[in-house]
Symmetry: C2
Subunit: 408 residues, 2 copies
């Protein structure tokens, strides 16, 4: 298949792209792109395009790689709009969490749901995310908080992979919060949730690629987090970390120490954390939807880029701290509030997001041999897309060379 009439092709190279590389992607005006067996076979100026019997027109629109959302809490059940109202009336997220609200409310809803119910509730979310341009998405467990309920969440993700076009990458987040029945016994919970037999089962059944921990004030400390991540590593699950969101407790330094593929949140990151990520080659995943939704300070993302880190962006879609499923919303916040350029934002949501979930060799780039995951926009430039918050400019979504969504 030859995608023709591309007004402008944004040539994002494979990630991770560090610092100034994030502003470097080339643009080809009047381009074409050939797909073979679901992969990019060729791209370049239209007049040099190879012959191809199957031609699809991009209608003069801009073409970019399909978006990658590298940090979501799908699948979840229930909703917490009451808590949202309480926060707007002045209560803090941490205070609500300590009063038995927050994650525990979602835990109860997830425990009460069957695997089929989890699939049914989360399928429409993924279907909407596709229309915003997401073609690859990370999903986490972490609301079950028993071996059985965590496995149920991971199996729901496995089923969701087969029910819709978005490629899903699973993460085991057993150490997400301390459930009520373990109150006062966090180390016992850590033992249970990082039981080597459980971790081996998750790896053997290919239920997750990564192991993640919420390492923060009100969640788990550095020692507890290290224990879980090391056991995960022994079972073949690569570490990820929720780090430096609410308070600076050394979480990002731990991420570097264990060679985490990414450290996520980073609102309170310090110089030691930045050095640790640089040393380990970890991706810095910034979640401005969370700081927007909670009304807290954004992560100083420019500082991370200037420090030479590869920065990715994500929704952190979850029912408590970022009830935002639309990655385009995050891209607008990143431009207008984090003051990233449109090109930096695109790289952060494609090449670097792919690197944050170990898929940079296959998705998130316009590169020969990469999967043909593409978006056709109804704009003349990348900047025009991000200049239009609140309006979906994605006209066509292509996954592995097939059109999987077209705007009405």
């Amino acid at each position: 298949m030859l995608l023709t009439d591309i007004g402008q092709l944004i040539v994002v190279p494979p990630g991770p792209l560090c610092g100034a590389q994030m502003r470097a992607p080339a643009r080809i005006d009047g381009a074409a792109l050939q797909v073979r067996d679901g992969r990019i076979q060729w791209f370049g100026p239209a007049q040099q395009a190879p012959e191809d019997p199957e031609r699809v027109s991009a209608g003069g629109g801009t073409v970019v790689p399909g978006l990658v959302d590298p940090h979501t809490h799908i699948p979840f059940a229930g909703e917490r709009s009451g808590e949202f109202e309480r926060r707007l009336a002045g209560e803090s997220y941490l205070a609500i969490m300590q009063a038995g609200g927050g994650i525990r409310v979602t835990t109860q809803a997830v425990r009460d749901a069957s695997e089929d119910e989890l699939v049914a509730v989360n399928l429409p979310r993924l279907q909407r995310m596709l229309t915003y341009g997401v073609t690859t998405c990370e999903c986490k467990s972490g609301y079950g908080l028993t071996a059985e309920d965590e496995l149920k969440q991971l199996r729901a993700i496995r089923t969701l992979k087969t029910r819709q076009p978005i490629e899903l990458v699973a993460t085991y987040l057993g150490a997400h919060a301390l459930p009520a029945e373990y109150e006062g016994r966090p180390d016992d919970f850590i033992e249970m949730i990082s039981d080597p037999a459980l971790l081996r089962q998750i790896a053997d059944e290919d239920l997750a690629a990564f192991c993640d921990v919420f390492c923060d004030a009100g969640a788990f400390d550095v020692d507890q987090s290290r224990r879980v991540l090391q056991r995960g590593l022994e079972a073949g699950l690569r570490p990820k970390l929720h780090a430096d969101e609410l308070k600076q407790i050394g979480a990002t330094v731990l991420a570097g120490e264990v060679g985490a593929i990414s450290a996520d949140h980073l609102e309170c990151i310090d110089e030691a954390g930045i050095a640790a990520l640089r040393g380990a080659g970890s991706v810095a995943v910034v979640l401005p939807g969370t700081s927007f939704f909670l009304g807290i300070e954004h992560c100083d993302t420019r500082r991370l880029i200037e420090a030479g880190l590869p920065v990715a962006l994500s929704t952190d879609f979850n029912p408590g701290s970022s009830h935002i499923e639309n990655l385009q919303w995050i891209m607008a916040i990143a431009c207008c509030q984090l003051r990233l350029t449109p090109t930096e934002v695109l790289v952060a949501c494609t090449a670097n997001a792919a690197a944050a979930i170990g898929r940079a060799d296959r998705v998130g780039a316009i590169s020969v041999g990469h999967q043909a995951d593409l978006l056709v926009l109804d704009t003349e430039s990348l900047a025009e897309w991000l200049y239009t918050p609140g309006r979906n400019r994605v006209r066509t979504v292509i996954k592995s060379g097939k059109v999987v969504h077209s705007a009405a």
Copy 2:
């Protein structure tokens, strides 16, 4: 027509609602609402509903008044995404404006467009706004900056009124920016644009209800603004004012002095300005999309509410400083960043927005005799709507008792 199966009816009373009144609207669970001749005839608990041969189900959803957007710069032509990129690379809005960019670029595009072209380009914008739930919208001239081109914009608004369901209220904003041909001669421009014959023609042809001025650093000073607004008043056009956005130059005090129906922006409002608005009974129209889009400090909106002012919210939809047509986006910013409660946000986008454009006696409220402009949401509560940024929860839009939009 009887609207039945309303899960929750949010009973917003007619505006303006000041201070704590903004949190007071009642909620009726299990409600019904009767429409007659396009107006609300009755509402209350479903079991007390009158007989009606025509019944429409709200499907258990929440029902609120149709949204009112009281400050937009529709109709405009052209786009300024290049300037958006320059700002993200570090240039200020004011610097771009002073270098011949900004409003002047749009002025050229509007001057180059015919009235028909203005209608054609802006009609889809209004059609999309309807899907977000807007049933009444203010539109301004202000990009023509000659008598002829200003009249062309106002006539385009008059035509747009007849082409789609949103009720449009027009404002004359001749003193929006100094066009290049008047460089160094602002007072000559003010004379031309506030020529009594022109203002009388606008009023006589019913082309506008209000006269507005951009009174700020880089635009027009207080004396120039006063002259325009007073002449507008003499022609029967009620004053409005762009005030205290970029710099504190006494604009809001002027708004009070001339009895403006609203003062809009207010990022830099001071105590004297607050007192002036209170004295004049003006509505404070806050435009957080602009501060979001420009990356500047938001207006301290809580302070205005605590001072007892009626606060309204609006998109300020325009191609330079707030290219956001989606009022739901503004509502989310107002919750998450201005820390307004969902009820305050709804009042600010209905009853108080209606008051800001002199329509409080007719729209923006659930009140017997008011126009039946209603939204049916696919949520169980108002909070659930605002808790879901980035996803359109409006299922049905009703204007004067008629269904004018239904989500697919």
